[in-house]
Subunit: 484 residues, 2 copies
């Protein structure tokens, strides 16, 4: 079959297969509520997913059939209305179709001059406007906030350490320090680590009772470090802590950073987008003063994984930290190799997928207003759930509801006794294994709690009613079992 | 509309829209040859792609219509049979459908216990077996070789610098050095830079006439650096240089690394996968001895962007360089939070897309044998093109064809005279702007050459015939124009 491509020999037959696959996808999403949130992968399926690489072609019908049979029935669960574990987005049917288009074009958006580049620039522009960043701010779509924070701190490292780190490395550099609160996400430590600054450089700022960075304490730490001849470079403020959804006082952090000439990076993985929700936008006031901002589309905007963004206020600093010159990446005045600047000059990746397309289509399909309303609604649902928890003597609310996260636990009718931590961990595993709901667990001030993070456009109030009833029932059943 | 999700109000109507979109995608790929390889984005389209974020919903039909009208006509061009610029994969219709399924499930493969995890483990296992890595090697699907190399060198940094870099950073560390050839890809320098080692730590090893690393010179550089109290940690060997497709002598590099106790990382972005092609597999002999190996699926396996892989021989070293503990990422014995180890312990990303699925489906649909045959065929096409170039007095072959890359230029019937560099750059831009073909340009030993990198399953010999005729015709026309 010399010169035969990997294309179908019979396009019409393939088209029929594609329609079948689309119908399966639509039906899968339409009926998601009717299935368990989660179910374990059976041993027989695991065995089928352990076979060696197929040498011979199975053909498309068999391959897709295998996918429908072995893979689709065992999702993470986040498309389900009662998935509230960690912070996962729901996805949408339009987002799924967008990925089909994205892969059909198969654009490489590392650079050059083609349609995908203008779509990404438009999406970055929308974000720049949304967050009140200046016209010459730059941005890049990335796989998520972990990567975005890595990029933001790489720019900070280059901009604020007074030696040329890109050339000379950190080996002779002053001892830089980066500040983040005790509730900051582990991706901040990961970025500091990867950048060669070492976790010792990450100064952990205490938080107040609401989980927000203690800004006076931050000020004292910076002053002390400067006295000790350390080199403070950046503060990472959090808009929406992963534990309880707390939002640092961004205005105060911005003012302090400005005074101390430190880089202000905001980890707004899910919280930044409350700016889309009119009643909540004030909660992230000050975000427009950040030097860099990291956030996700795949969480509260429900764009399919993976999809996040980094914005950098000073576009020149952004490019200065990442650009390189290689002859095979030379820019031309005309033709396909035009389009300078190229996105590869703003981050780690050279080959880049067209991940702007699902963001673009999601925002166009639903509009910013409606997407913001869904965010506000999730926060109202968190308040609703907290009220239901307070109503029940068997349950205890374990943290104030700041945004969309509710931490509570089952303590029984007579208050906590015995191994309440293990009991609540067991309840969460029961909920998951029985396919009822998928919250996750969290250690909060030394106690295991049930954590419900609501970034789900399919959840309704009745779903939270069911959660409360199920937790109480499962807790009681486990207590009864434990009795002699 | 309290509690109304972002789901369609009329699923049947949405299903019809989805079928229309699928038909457009299938037709787009079926007829790709009939369209220009590339065309510039018209000013009117650029203007439409510069409007502010839509507040109101446009609805799915309008949003997808906009995509078909504004975006799909202006691709990078890599789906076309005559796209040979840089090193881009072609994509397949099955891969596009796979992305639809991937986004429908919307799995987050950072960790936990669900189907996508077992698919990624299976794909990693296939790669481990393909490259002769041991049973306890670990691996991770990533966005591409840039990220894979960053991870490989992060593991090397942690494993081979004799201080705890993750905690203390590099500020007190010995001056590490990393070796790569003069033909190594710019992503190696980017990784060294980002890791805080500084580009000065990247020692550039000279290459032989074929573009391969000079291993005796490497040995001498390591010895000299050790005498100078530097701390050599890693050698990056290249399997398929971006310029000419040269493959370093991996056996010799492995032997030297073993003797000198250095980490051997292989950048096999496109070249590693020649291991799938029986007549070529011997070219990467020694790759099985690498400590880490970075390569792409989105290039020569034609999986849609983005899709690459990092393999690390010693899985414990891999985890030791990346794992962290955070209470909200606690692993459970049962339920959804099982499945330890989690993929987020092996790289930068915590939220991770299910990018294993398109790889899995591509390999199942076509089989390893056929995918390898297509790789071998691209190399035969390179040899064919080189022969056609040699046949023509107006053309000059500028580098030996090592694999799948042909570098040549137009010199006119009477040999090179005048600004031949500018002439060849103009010819490439002409080819692109006229939609005939999309090679890229390269500076090779100080000269601008036309570079044809063949990682395209749709190319046929006649496409290369057309390229040769077009280059000669365009070159002659430009020479004629320049005459008085």
């Amino acid at each position: 079959m010399k010169d035969a491509s990997l294309d179908p020999t019979d396009w019409e037959e393939y088209r029929r297969l594609a329609h079948k696959v689309v119908d399966e996808c639509i039906e899968y999403l339409r009926t998601v509520r009717d299935r368990p949130v989660w179910q374990p992968v059976p041993a027989a399926v695991k065995a089928e997913l352990s076979t060696p690489m197929p040498t011979k072609a199975q053909g498309a019908p068999q391959a897709f059939e295998d996918c429908l049979r072995l893979v689709l029935p065992y999702p993470t669960g986040n498309a389900h209305p009662r998935f509230w574990g960690w912070v996962h987005g729901t996805g949408t049917v339009g987002g799924a179709l967008a990925q089909l288009l994205m892969a059909t074009m198969n654009a490489n958006v590392g650079g050059r001059d083609h349609g995908a580049v203008y779509v990404e620039r438009q999406v970055v522009g929308w974000c720049r406007d949304l967050f009140g960043f200046p016209e010459d701010a730059s941005g890049l779509l990335v796989s998520g906030t972990s990567m975005a924070t890595l990029i933001g701190l790489a720019v900070a490292r280059h901009a604020r350490i007074p030696v040329d780190v890109r050339v000379g490395g950190l080996m002779g550099a002053p001892l830089a320090s980066v500040y983040a609160s005790a509730e900051a996400h582990s991706s901040v430590a990961k970025a500091v680590d990867l950048l060669g600054l070492g976790r010792r450089s990450l100064r952990v700022v205490p938080v107040d009772d609401e989980g927000r960075m203690d800004v006076p304490a931050l000020r004292a730490m910076i002053d002390r470090d400067r006295q000790d001849d350390l080199c403070p470079i950046a503060v990472v403020a959090t808009a929406g802590t992963v534990g309880t959804g707390a939002i640092d006082d961004l205005e105060s952090v911005a003012t302090l950073c400005s005074e101390k000439q430190l880089w202000m990076h905001v980890d707004g993985a899910f919280g930044a987008l409350v700016r889309l929700a009119a009643p909540l936008a004030h909660r992230v006031r000050g975000i427009e003063r950040a030097d860099s901002l990291a956030f996700d589309f795949h969480k509260w905007l429900h764009v399919p994984y993976d999809s996040g963004c980094i914005l950098v206020r000073d576009g020149r600093e952004h490019r200065a930290a990442f650009s390189s010159s290689a002859s095979y990446l030379a820019r031309a005045q005309r033709g396909l190799a035009g389009g300078d600047p190229w996105f590869c000059d703003l981050g780690v990746e050279l080959s880049r997928s067209f991940r702007a397309l699902p963001v673009w289509l999601t925002i166009k399909e639903h509009g910013a207003l409606r997407l913001g309303e869904k965010i506000a609604e999730n926060c109202e649902q968190a308040t609703y759930l907290a009220a239901r928890v307070r109503d029940r003597a068997e349950l205890e609310l374990c943290a104030p509801v700041s945004l969309n996260i509710v931490c509570f636990r089952f303590v029984g009718a007579h208050g906590a006794s015995g191994n309440v931590d293990a009991l609540n961990e067991a309840i969460v595993a029961d909920l998951q294994e029985q396919g009822i709901a998928a919250p996750s667990t969290l250690q909060l001030r030394g106690r295991s709690v049930i954590r419900v993070a609501i970034t789900n456009h399919r959840s309704t109030r009745s779903d939270f009613d069911l959660l409360v009833e199920s937790v109480v029932a499962l807790g009681k059943a486990r207590l009864a079992e434990a009795l002699p």
